[in-house]
């Protein structure tokens, strides 16, 4: 009895060691293969956050075959709280990435060869959200208040204050992240967040809130911008054009029926835990941020020189020096046929 047990243990341990070595080797091989990327005619779009109707236009493009019609097999790569967009685009794992002007500018300052080839959000979605009985309707209302925000966004708040002649030291900054709970529990008076995010969550939970769009007070910064490397723009130009053409069609379709876009998001990603009502509200709320008289005139994702000038101004206040070279209009010109 004892002898047999020893034997089985010995076998077990031996098997364990060989198993570990084997799995290690398999993982290493798998890594190597994964890094090679896809073949011709296939390209990845790196999203900036978890799946939601925030990327509804892209889902429509995929679902209705706008990309496959053009011979491009697109995969959508999800982002997350600890998933930066820039590295996969630099390394070529993703052909195009959804970033923001300030992040793209920072990456360029660190040596990436990005160009901004389109801007899904013409205006910055950042708001100050507060409760109706203690509202923040204009920057002056911030004085003496406690604001909950990620410390990463402090430069944005400072810029808003500079633009509106307010002393940022009179605002108490409380570091919070990812949830509106500090506002609902009374820990802070207001939150710095996205118009389409925490205020929607509060509305669905029956908590009414007031939002002040920072873009209405001079904080001009494009968001959800499309980035690609100079090498991709040179060597894989047709694919980049096809990718952006699909995006434009998808988002125009999105605008026609945001409820359908919300339903599609919920249907396409059953494991993402999306709530249909939340998605509908979010889908409707982001339309004014994406479409304007300007985009009606020159097309989705596009801009003019004035927009670029104000973006550069805001970036300068944020401590980032950029030139109009960061933006490349040639892809959208090809897409819109101008």
């Amino acid at each position: 009895m004892a002898e047999r047990r020893t034997l089985s243990r010995r076998t077990l341990i031996g098997a364990g060691i060989f198993g570990a070595v084997g799995i290690g080797a398999a993982t290493a091989v798998g890594v190597g293969v994964a890094n090679r990327g896809g073949g011709a005619g296939s390209a990845a779009l790196q999203l900036s956050w978890l799946h939601s109707v925030q990327f509804g236009g892209s889902y429509i493009a995929l679902d209705r075959g706008y990309w496959s019609e053009a011979g491009l097999d697109v995969s959508l790569l999800q982002g997350g709280p600890n998933a930066p967009v820039e590295p996969p685009v630099v390394s070529g794992q993703a052909l195009v990435g959804v970033s923001a002007v300030d992040f793209a500018a920072a990456a360029v300052a660190e040596g990436a060869t990005f160009k901004i080839i389109g801007a899904a959000m013409q205006n910055n979605p950042t708001v100050i959200a507060s409760l109706p009985d203690n509202p923040v309707n204009e920057p002056g209302d911030l004085l003496g208040k406690r604001i909950g925000m990620a410390l990463a966004n402090v430069p944005a708040l400072e810029t808003l204050c500079t633009l509106n002649n307010i002393d940022v030291n009179e605002i108490e900054i409380v570091p919070t992240q990812y949830t509106a709970q500090p506002l609902t529990s009374g820990e802070v008076d207001c939150l710095l967040c996205w118009e389409t995010d925490l205020p929607v969550a509060m509305e669905v939970q029956g908590v009414e809130s007031v939002t002040m769009l920072m873009a209405d007070f001079g904080f001009t910064l494009q968001s959800q911008t499309y980035i690609a490397t100079e090498e991709s723009l040179r060597d894989r130009r047709d694919e980049v054009v096809a990718m952006m053409a699909g995006e434009v069609r998808g988002w125009e379709e999105y605008r026609r029926d945001t409820d359908a876009a919300a339903a599609l998001s919920v249907e396409m990603f059953p494991d993402a835990g999306l709530d249909l009502e939340t998605q509908r509200l979010q889908a409707a709320r982001q339309v004014p941020l994406m479409f304007s008289e300007l985009t009606d005139e020159i097309g989705f994702g596009f801009w003019n020189d004035d927009v670029i000038a104000s973006n550069i101004e805001t970036l300068a206040l944020l401590g980032q020096t950029v030139t109009p070279d960061l933006w490349d209009t040639s892809i959208l010109e090809e897409v819109h046929g101008s």
């Binding site: 020893t6 570990a20 390394s91 794992q93 990812y178 609902t184 529990s185 990603f269 835990g273």
Partner: protein
Amino acid sequence: MSAGATARIRRPITAARRDAAIGTVGVVIALVVWELAARALEGGFALAAPTAVVASIVDNAGLLGRALAATGTTALLGFVIGNGAAVALGALAAAWPRSERTITGLALIVVCLPLVATAPLLRVLLGQGDGPSIALAALSVYYTTLIPLLVGLRAVPSTWLDLVQVAGRGPLTALVTVRARASLPYLAAGLQIAAPAAFLGAMVGEFTGAERGLGVLTIRAARDLDVDLTWALATIAAVISMAAYGLIGIIARRLAGGEPPTILAAPRLGSGRGRLRATLVGAGSAVIAAIVLWWGGIVAFDITPFVARTPIDVIGIVTGTRDGGETRDALLGALAETAVFVVPGYLAGLLAGLALAILVVLVPGTTGAVMPIAIALRSVPIVTTVPLIVLLLGRGPVGAIAITAVMVFFPTLVACLHGLRRAPGQVLDVMKVYATPAWRVLLQARIPAMLPAFFAAARMGVPAAVLAVTAAEWLATGTGIGALMALSASLSDYDVLAGAVVIVTVISAVGYALVGAIETRVLARYAPEQSG
């Protein structure tokens, strides 16, 4: 041995039943307190009542089931890979003792890597899919398995090894026939701690862009202010971790035949100076191995220079030749903020673990009530507990300290319990004959027997505390080195990221060595026979 064996036979019949009864009562009381607290805090969106949690689980059964399957699979793969690696490294160290210090040194360096910074790098390295989650789960477990395993591989009466030698066999035979068997209870202890850790690691790995899983849903639920779902997710994670912990315990008892046996291992030979030299050589070779792997990895995987920083780059960052010391100063400033949380949290966690272990041993039957709560605390993901801890203790230092303490406390408790029960049976029998009071038995027999296990936990607690505090800073407070690492990843500041990884790793490793030095001194004085 015979006294211990009789005790073991007697124990399950009465004690197990008593433990179960007390455990049931404890769980019921905890549930009632939980329900009342949730009702009292209603409207704050911080805590959901057990009834609401059950309702949410039922409502979202399909979604939660699929997420659990996804996270469970990655956690299990990580558990197997991480523990497999630990066993392989342990066996290598035992078969080739000269390599032991290099192996433990390298293993320590890897476990000290701050995951807030390494997680996005793993995504860059492993691409899409479950790679980062599996890797983080594996990284969360291998170290807490390797260290007890190495102790176990040594915990062999020297006469047995003499016997192998007399038979003309080498270290390999000794490993397979003697050491492997002796190490099984220690391996089991490591695997038990590993189960909740693997689950937590897999969930945090999902933050790097996984498509599905409990971690993904946790972020979603927190953002949607869906408190019921948030706590449903936490409950599932905790229950699964407890079940895995219990199951491994049962398997281990079957396979290994009970608690680790009592062995008075011979003290290690060698003078103080010789030992110091061996340590330095081991540490040096481990650092060299780490640098070879680091640099070799950049070359082998052809990692883009946009992200990759070589050891030379980091030397430039630290000495200030690269940017005039700007990055270094930012890092040191952030580290000073972090130190305020991590040191008290670490010490509080150690003390709490030790105190609870003593309580459990002194007051028989408390195991049933204490252990489930302790495991639950350890396995509930930080993202979920943070709002509650913050609500109870404020967003200031106390909250972050508490989060750190919780992460350190559980491994300490488990290790101390194992240690306290390792007091030699003969000694306890003698004390029993003389009717020695329980506190003296504790002070004179059990605590000295426990010291090595306590110090092992204290050493492993250093990287665990750093991990906890950086995660808390990243997810809740937004201050210190944890927030700086997350921010620099999104700003593509890979100089800061690389500098942070190296500095945090070095500090963790030095902290570990410091605890080790204290351990050597204390053991030499109070438990010389165990300072192996």
